[in-house]
Amino acid sequence: MDAVKIRQLFPILDQEVNGEPLVYLDSAATSQKPLQVIEAMEHYYKWNNSNVHRGVHTLGNRATDLYEGARDKVKSFIGAESAKEIIFTRGTTTAINTVAYGYARQRLKPGDEIVITPMEHHSNIIPWQQAAKATGATLKYIPLQPDGTISIEDVRATVTNQTKIVAMMHVSNVLGTVNPIKEVTQIAHENGAIILVDGAQGVPHMKVDVRDLDCDFYAFSGHKMCGPTGIGVLYGKKEILEQTEPVEFGGEMIDFVDLYDSTWKELPWKFEGGTPIIAGAIGLGAAIDFLTEIGLDAITEHENKLVAYAQEQLSTIDGVTIYGPTKRAGLVTFNLNDVHPHDTATVLDAEGIAVRAGHHCAQPLMKWLDVTATARASFYLYNTEEDVDRLVGGLKKAKEYFGDVF
């Protein structure tokens, strides 16, 4: 895989920021989009824009084919059995909330347990807090190991036969921890629980096969995998989706509507009330084509090399603390001495380097790390070792700049 060549396919990366060539190290927040994704959406709006599933006219047919074609691409991409198991949502957050409202709240009772981890993104904590409050179920946490991983023993100790739902991120957006989803799924199933996987940081960076994982739900976002914002996916096993109630009611999702009662369309459409995110789905389909052509394994390997290099280089700077396990996905979360990460990020920005600074929508994890905020550099297929070198150079300057303060 040639990252330098791939980089040229992303028009946005070819610019100067604050007088320096842009180094984009914030793909865990949102990835950049290759030209072919932008063009696929533009082409749809220029030539095929129409509402879907209302078929009489030609444009309507084209739009429907493109929209449902994108669903097929998602199905193959994550190894689902059927396209009926692919629900288009606004993003990971909406996908998780669909499960929390449409599945969890319908069946949880006092005494039931929901099991999550302290490393979760807010979007995989708050829906469960709310579901627990509404139903009287108990929210439990699998503790973290000192290096920010979870142990299978702890999973076994936390998940009981009272547990109905386990919700866990595939890859941590802060620590880079890759969770042992397959093993956790097995433990959940042994206890009669279902598992939802927050795959927002998983699917963009590694080959995911939902049937191999055997998870019941898998949620992810298009915009973190070279696709547009506003589109995401909820995968669910067919029999479990059939037990899940729709959470948005209105047009598009109905079968028959009477004055006092209505029935729903079959899967997947019963979850897609209103005019769907047509251009978004088409953009996501184009992103899947793009990623598939390069190959997810090649992307993972590239990111592994980069993150190893980044860890090695960052640890040469005195005063840098790196959070999370050594073996990690393609991101590094760190702090520089007593310099607040906001200040670090501002100095880096002045050098044309974009990193994230803050709590990364993971306040419980920040508390666990005993920091208020951190800086994070996250990598994707278009990043190079030179980007890491620029980051290291920028951090050295930040240290120099704030050096006389501390």
């Binding site: 604050n18 906001h342 920005d349 044309g352 700049y401």
Partner: protein, 146 residues
């Protein structure tokens, strides 16, 4: 971008307030405490105010945050101490205007060290850091005047 541009943000006086915060601590009796956080970054600030006879008798702050939010809190407490509630509110308004990049008229009120934060206006991502303490102060003065 050279460091010259950064220097417009991180003026020496700001760094001094960050390193040696004035009025850091808490107040006990007859004071009002306002917690304010910046949910996008996790910065938290606590402002303690004691207002009597329409005058800010005492102002202190605690909290965690970046250089801009903490130095701004330090400067704010220093600036409003001994001022009338009306003057404090007026300063807060001037500060808001300053963050919007407006030319502020210093005729009425001496801004002192606060002037150093003018450069923040050029860094949109950091404006919220600078205004956090002022927003907390406004809320506190409102509470205590009622």
């Amino acid at each position: 971008m050279s460091f010259d541009n950064l220097d417009t943000l991180y003026r020496q006086v700001i760094m001094d307030h960050y390193k040696n915060p004035r009025n850091r601590g808490s107040l006990t009796d007859e004071s009002v405490t306002i917690d304010m956080n910046n949910p996008t970054c996790g910065d938290r600030i606590q402002i303690h105010l004691h207002v009597e006879d329409d005058i800010v008798q005492e102002a202190k702050f605690e909290g965690e945050g970046c250089s801009i939010s903490l130095s701004s809190a330090s400067m704010m407490t220093q600036a409003i101490k001994g001022k009338t509630v009306e003057q404090a509110m007026q300063m807060s308004q001037i500060f808001s205007d300053m963050m919007l990049g407006k030319d502020v008229d210093e005729m009425d009120i001496d801004l002192g060290d606060i002037q150093a934060l003018q450069g923040v206006a050029k860094f949109p991502a950091r404006i919220k850091c600078a205004t956090l303490a002022w927003k907390a102060m406004e809320k506190g003065v409102d509470n205590q005047s009622e």
